[in-house]
């Protein structure tokens, strides 16, 4: 069942084989460098229900659209991020502190993520199902490190149907406990194994420092839970799933994550091993973008989840769990976004091509709109996600900015002269200005479709390549603690041999703010000495500040 899909080496060449996949990297234009106080950069955490409630009376709301310029990314990354989310209409603040409303455009990105992963999960033998979100408090207490990890973050239901409850209910922060309670009922024999399930659900963690998508009080995710007859199978499954996440990040999201194993200190509360994909954001902080846990027998022992093996012996099952959440949307924003707004990888973009018709005189209008409609139809038929923005309330220039803010990969412009020449103008979101613009692409369906598909492919590839270059130029190999301190103080990631203690690891965190993000799967050859202790080390670790 758990055949490893481990990727031998994630390089551009085996992901993209198009001849046009190596465009030249270009500088971003200095756009929106206007200095002004960021309008929507108020801290997510400090926002309160009372304030939000008061705001509902405030009619000076930010107007829909993108007349506004967002805070430049280089000036204040956090303010830029919040401005972008507001202006691209990805999310809004919920009335309860730390909660988030995912707006249609942001939710459509999540749906793209779901569509891809859901297929991969089913292909690898997992079934979707649904567990209740209310968990008896006593369940959480059964696995010692689990309760220690989660109890500070719990939301508790104490009143139901007007009455105080006898036992408090936990609103699920994750489902290992209730899953094991049920697995214990369903699993009796080796014939019932492996048991491979997944659920798409909301989860609640009472976080103090929140930030839209990245860390919210309630978020959406998928959580896979599996039970196996042997430790090898469980390990293979945990690796298989982190590999699926890695492939997803590279090929769909164009995010060159570094996959590896967490240190003991950073391992999930209740797991033996945690595998992770770590992504470098535009401010060079690390984002843990997905995890896969080998739970060993920790939960099966706590919940008595046993099976009769082929030799007639009772054994506890070996388990895994793995998850990706709406946090990933934040990762996409912070990897690819620029001062003009969001920049979406074509494979996850809800709209891949926007058509903006341009006319001045009324006599031009009909011809332009007809041409635009037929181009839309041609692309739609070819399976391209296309939108025609034919609203008359906004100017073409306003629309250009608006759809750039929304990160649509390609824009097609059609004016009266294009109609006469039966051609269109195509602009790339990722290459600003004239350099990203091609004139005179024929409207002839086969030519147009081929050109658009090729460009989308090129953009997907280019975003990944750019992100790889950015990542690699910001990872420093270190051979001493001093090296690490310098690298971290410059905002970079530090990679160096490590075999020191948990105490050393916590000391690094205290003194530099950096944590071990992972021991990457890809390890350099040769003899290594721990940069902290000088002792022999088997692996390098990556240290970084993180979200």
């Amino acid at each position: 069942m758990a055949v490893s899909l481990r990727l031998p080496s994630l390089t551009l060449t085996n992901l993209f084989s198009s001849p046009s996949s190596l465009p030249i990297l270009r500088r971003r234009r200095p756009h929106g460098t206007l200095l002004r106080p960021p309008p929507l950069a108020a801290s997510f955490s400090s926002q309160r229900a009372e304030a939000a409630s008061a705001q509902t009376q405030d009619k000076s709301k930010s107007s829909k659209g993108s007349d506004q310029v967002i805070t430049p990314r280089s000036q204040d990354f956090n303010a830029w991020y919040l401005d972008l989310i507001a202006n691209a209409e990805l999310a809004d603040y919920g009335p309860v502190r730390g909660t988030m409303v995912i707006r249609p455009y942001g939710y459509a990105i999540w749906e793209s993520i779901q569509d891809y992963l859901n297929v991969k999960f089913k292909e690898t033998g997992h079934s979707n199902m649904y567990f209740p979100q209310f968990i008896p408090y006593s369940f959480i207490e059964k696995e010692a490190s689990h309760v220690e990890g989660f109890s500070p973050e719990l939301a508790l239901v104490t009143i139901g149907g007007g009455k105080e409850l006898e036992e408090k209910l936990v609103v699920r922060p994750t489902s290992e406990t209730i899953v094991n309670h049920m697995f214990t009922k369903w699993i009796q024999s080796y014939r019932d194994l492996p048991l491979l399930i997944n659920q798409w659900a909301n989860v609640t963690r009472w976080e103090m420092r929140t930030k839209p998508f990245v860390r919210t009080l309630e978020f959406l995710w998928q959580e896979g839970h599996t039970a196996h007859a042997t430790p090898e199978e469980a390990e293979n499954e945990a690796i298989q799933m982190i590999d699926i996440y890695t492939k997803f990040a590279y090929e769909q999201a164009a995010i060159p994550v570094i996959a590896g194993r967490k240190s003991k200190v950073e391992t999930f509360a209740g797991a033996n091993k945690t595998y992770t994909i770590e992504a470098m954001m535009g401010d060079r902080k690390a984002l843990q973008a997905g995890t896969s846990h080998n739970l060993g027998q920790n939960f099966s022992r706590a919940f008595g989840t046993q099976f009769l093996d082929e030799t007639g012996q009772m054994q506890h099952v070996w388990q895994t769990s793995w998850a990706i959440s709406t946090r990933f949307v934040g990762g996409i924003i912070m990897t690819h976004g620029d001062d003009a707004g969001l920049m979406l990888p074509p494979k996850l973009a809800p709209i891949q091509v926007v058509i903006v018709p341009i006319w001045k005189k009324d006599e031009e209008k009909v011809a332009v709109l007809n041409a635009a409609s037929s181009v839309k139809e041609v692309l739609h038929t070819a399976g391209i996600k296309v939108k025609l923005d034919d609203s008359e309330q906004r100017t073409p220039g306003w629309k250009f900015n608006f759809w750039e803010m929304k990160g649509v990969p390609l824009r097609i412009e059609i004016g009266p002269r294009d109609v006469s020449s039966e051609s269109v103008v195509i602009s790339r979101r990722d290459v600003p200005g004239k350099q990203g613009k091609v004139f005179g692409i024929s409207m002839e369906p086969s030519i147009l479709v081929a050109f658009v598909k090729d460009k989308l492919y090129e953009i997907q590839s280019s975003l990944l390549e750019r992100a790889i270059a950015f990542r690699d130029s910001n990872i420093v190999d270190v051979n001493s603690y001093d090296d690490l301190k310098v690298a971290i103080s410059q905002g970079k990631w530090a990679r160096g041999p490590w075999s020191a203690t948990n105490e050393h690891e916590l000391k690094v965190k205290e003194e530099t703010g950096a944590t071990i993000r992972c021991f990457p799967f890809e390890q350099p050859e040769g003899i290594k000495k721990c940069f902290m202790t000088g002792d022999p080390a088997e692996e390098v670790a990556i240290f970084a500040k993180s979200y």
Copy 2:
């Protein structure tokens, strides 16, 4: 935007036009009439966390599969329903009283429902999004009838992150209040309207009498929420959505619901009008299977959701909300199921065809399995949802019962003789015994695929026709309260002219247990007199006992 899809008349002829769509109705075989105590018919409501917890140590669990016979439907409908859910592995009890775990097979039915509706919602202009599930308690209190309707059913979070909260949080029972809070931020002008959104989410209602799928403490649903500039648009939207539900019920679920308007007494807490689809279950009780509400300006006034109209006037928006939930899965079970188990309409069946290979001698095995695999491949390629049950742990007879219990519409049997004659045997789930069996269907792909598709079509049509006949033979036209009492005491639905008061309606409920299910959209012509008061009546109402 809100173009009405109102169906002129839902008859078989306009839903199914296949020449083979009118098979003869046949009697069900007397199957499983063994008298014995129902093993899994314990009341869902009486089940407690402590008991469930204790059960986890009980190793005498019901074994997977269908060696067991379920309680006959005619003997105890409720016990039959619970046995079926357990044996077909649709759901299980959660550890908290009244909660339900939706198992993979049950969840796959829900996914079929989602797949269909999600497309229809998007086709009619709605976008998915996500609202937080925690709602400040004060929100619920803002709309007077809403709080009255929902306050007895609320689950409240009072502790978060280890601290007592200043304001209790409601775990959403429905989202009108939080939706309006956000709509107030997003809507300023008529240009922002209509605003058409939907969310797929879990909801919590602290129900006292629970039953898997039909009424659970937590359930899954979709809830649509829309805002419009005029009352006409809102009314059209509410009608459009109940029409989509009606079409879904007829064409996909083969459930001949009766669509209509709820009485004032039965209208949703906060709505001006509630439209409903009412389905007759196998025990002739009514199930409210979907609702669409015209909310008027009730929530927009409570939350100050206003817009500047085209003439420059501030107005409150006009709204709707509409929902279908996992309860619908219960409706499918109770409409089509029989003593052999579940019976799924082909369009919603996660597995439409199961292939059972049959061999005795080892030398037959390879040939039979090869033939079975190639038949599977042929059907799969043709877009048919097919499963090959080639496990060697169970006999063919066991498998027949198991897949009948799971309600798979068609079974293909392949034995050594079929291999030699290059043909298969095909059995219909809905026509038991020899009558439903056809021998010697050629394995030649084009012939086999055409036959299977035709049979699936026929089954879909037959299930609906049978349900219509059952429904129509159990609705009695009444002209006096005495008539109604007789009809209800016989377990039937009573349809009669009604213009009496709310008090009369409550009296009927008290004295007979029946409520007004709806004033159906399809009304008889002619002059009518209220059967209760003798006053003139404009409409007939349908009364029935219900879930």
